[in-house]
């Protein structure tokens, strides 16, 4: 696999979220639709990335339930196109290679099957922390701990 092929393998993946998180996603990502009383993100991936960051920073790793209790959305390659956002995300993710369980140099020796496994692990890594972050938001929201302000998410990052 070349560098580009490897990257494409990742970019073609569609991370999943648990169906139990649909309410929180509908509340905080408007997908260009109507507004809610809370500050919102636009597309789902924005909320997803935010939730991933929240989960990662708070150490909230929560594996997804079995596949038919989950749902996917657009592939990573289509997240904020023409932007380096995804590159930055991958940079963060690859800095956690030890936790995900691979060595950078080993990747170069793997065969395609082994590489695909690593990519799967990476996606699972993203999904578990995003799920943890969404779970946190859902609980805070349910407990009325979220302050309804335009800076809700900026302020939440500082906590």
């Amino acid at each position: 696999m070349t560098a580009q092929e490897f990257k494409n393998t990742i970019l073609l993946k569609r991370p999943r979220y648990a169906k139990s998180k649909i309410p929180v996603i509908e509340a905080f990502a408007n997908k260009g639709q109507s507004k809610s009383e809370y500050s919102q993100f636009g597309p789902i991936y924005e909320l997803y990335i935010y939730a991933f960051r929240l989960g990662l920073k708070k150490g909230l790793k929560l594996p997804l339930p079995p596949r038919n209790s989950t749902q996917d959305f657009i592939e990573i390659g289509k997240w904020k196109r023409d932007s380096s956002l995804v590159d930055f995300l991958l940079m963060i993710i690859f800095s956690y290679s030890e936790e995900i369980g691979f060595d950078w140099n080993d990747l170069e020796d793997f065969d395609d099957k082994e590489l695909n496994q690593v990519v799967s692990n990476i996606i699972e890594f993203i999904e578990s922390y995003a799920n943890g972050g969404l779970q946190y938001l859902q609980e805070e929201w349910g407990n009325d701990n979220l302050i309804n302000s335009s800076y809700l998410f900026a302020d939440l990052m500082n906590e």
Binding site: T2, Q40, G42, Y50, S83, F94, S95, Y96, W104, E108
Partner: protein, 731 residues
Amino acid sequence: MASIINSIAFKNFFNYYGEFEDNTYELEEGINIIVADNGAGKSKFFNAFLWLFYDQVLDSDTKQKISIKNAGVKIISDKAKNETAIGDYVKCGVTLEYTSGTRYKYQVIKSFTATRLDEKVTDKNSWQFVMNELEVNRTELVLHKYKPVYDEVEKKQIIDNLIMPAFRKYSFLQGEEVDDIIDFSKKESIEEAVENLTDIKSYEQIHELLDEFKTKAFKDLQKQLKANNIQNERFDDAVAEKEKIEQKLEHEKEKLEQWNETLSVAEKEKNDLDKLYSNAEKRKELDDRLKPLRKKLRDKNEEFENFLDRINNRFFDGGFAWIAMGFENEVDKFRELNDRYIEKRYEKKALKNVEDNPNEYFHFLPENSPDSVSLKNMIEDQHCYVCNREAKEGTPEYSNLLKLKNRTKDKQSEKPFVNNDLKNFFGDLQINAQPFYNKFESIRDSIIKTKEKEVEIRDNIEKLKKQIKSIDDDRNSILIAGHDSEHSAREVISNYTGAVKRMENANNKINDIIIPSVNKNRKDLKAINDEIKSLNKSNDIPDGFNENYEVLSDLEEASQKAKERVFDGMISLLEEHANMHFKNLIKNNDLSGGILKFEKNLNGSINFNYLDSKGNSVYGSAEGFQRMKKFSVVMAIISANNSQYNYPLLADAPISAFGEGFTEGFFEAIGDVFPQSIVLVKELYKREDEMKINELGKRLLKDKKVRTMYVNHVTEDSEQIDLVTTQTKLK
């Protein structure tokens, strides 16, 4: 002997909570000013006079005067009501003291008692009212003790003496009511004023009497003529002709009356619309100012909405990169891993080369070391400068140098040493992601700045809203009570021009057609009368009948002219006085000198116009100016009177539409006309000032004509139930 009000006091009357002693205003001869912001008891103060004189108050909700009996629950202080337990009662009243002349002082007290029956304080069914008997007391000035007056007729007389009912309309000025005091389009209105001021009524009676005598004298004469000259056909013809002319004249007069009626209706409409017309124009001007501001506000609001909507975009926009906040360690870790990866990778490559070509150790050398220029020199010199040893052509050392020089070419044919070459994958990530991790330092600042920007836009919006509200308030204050605010400006303007057109039309009819015709008939009538007279001469009738008729004719004409002279004289006197007051009122304004002009219409009504310096009528000026004009006439009616005006002026905010220059003129003018003025005014109030009055207020405070000045206060931001008006005496 002028009536001077010495004091007025309130007990639980509207916001004037508490006993009479807590709410007493001591007043003096001259000007008394009570300064109060909106809601600080101005109209309530004025209402006390309405109660005293008319047993009425002005309902501030409906702008209607209602009987005190029906007002009941509304006029008692809410605080007092609230403090009254069920079954207990509260008293509400007004007391006034005045002197008239040098001997007596009077006290008038009106009050009622309300017993609380139920829980709901403001519900009128929760209260039972009992009007207390009117108390009137009198004392001689040298004594101190009041003695009650028991006789009801005398009580009424004492109240009437304070301000005679016929003059109250000149003494009571409440806001816009100045406009309604004199309606110039109505003949009766100005006549009433003239009647109040002159003995014109007796001239009228004399004239009527003489006209009657004259008609009778002619009939007597006619009888005599007929009896004495039966065959004189010429005489009969003349009389018949005379009757014909009289009929025609009568007919023309009827037409004149009809057209005068039309004229007066149109004139009244025009006058009614005068104020609205100028307001319509002013409102249009304000609307023109409001329009762009409203648009700006809409744009700003939209900008604000967009701004708020986009705040979360800043997490993912490379220009802000908020999402990167807190990832410093991860980026360092990535770099560290990348360095290690490159290093390991290099080792791996070198080892692989060693495995493939165990004899070529230079693979351990970093690329380009030594550089190609040095290598070239070494080959040419056949000397290795790295180890400083000879490397003669043909020796292994020499061929090693050659191999080193060619190694780049070899590299192109080099075989891959890993399955998956990911060097560029990691390298590109690090290069591409720069916009995000370069922002670490500035993210916190960026969030703060965004918040500041929000405050800035919000402030802008607030400022715009305030601006709009202020203009809107002005706009609303232009509307006159009772007029529908949706009364469209266009409609007013079109009605106004319609009325002016009808006036012109009627005037043309009257002046160009009817009046000439009337005059011609009159001339004909005089000629035929002369003819009849000369026919008489030839007849044999007693002289007494002829003389009697002639004398009465002359007297009738003379009395008619005398009446007109008195009327005209009074009108020109009023005009003179009105102009005098008007000049005083506007002297602090940069209004260029025009004059007020009274012109008599043929129907007897008075045209009242403001002429500019070139003699042209000025229509539709601003409301304050219109009011100023009329107020000048009110004062003229008072000052043109031969005797002194003996009653106080009680004025509630008559100057709200005047503007500061007028306001100053107003205070100067009233001092000359009224022996005592009690003026309730908001325009002098200034919240931020320590004394709560503005610069003009301070100037007036120093003016020796101003004898007392009070400022009313209300507790700020308090509930209606706690609202209490208190006062400070500044002078």
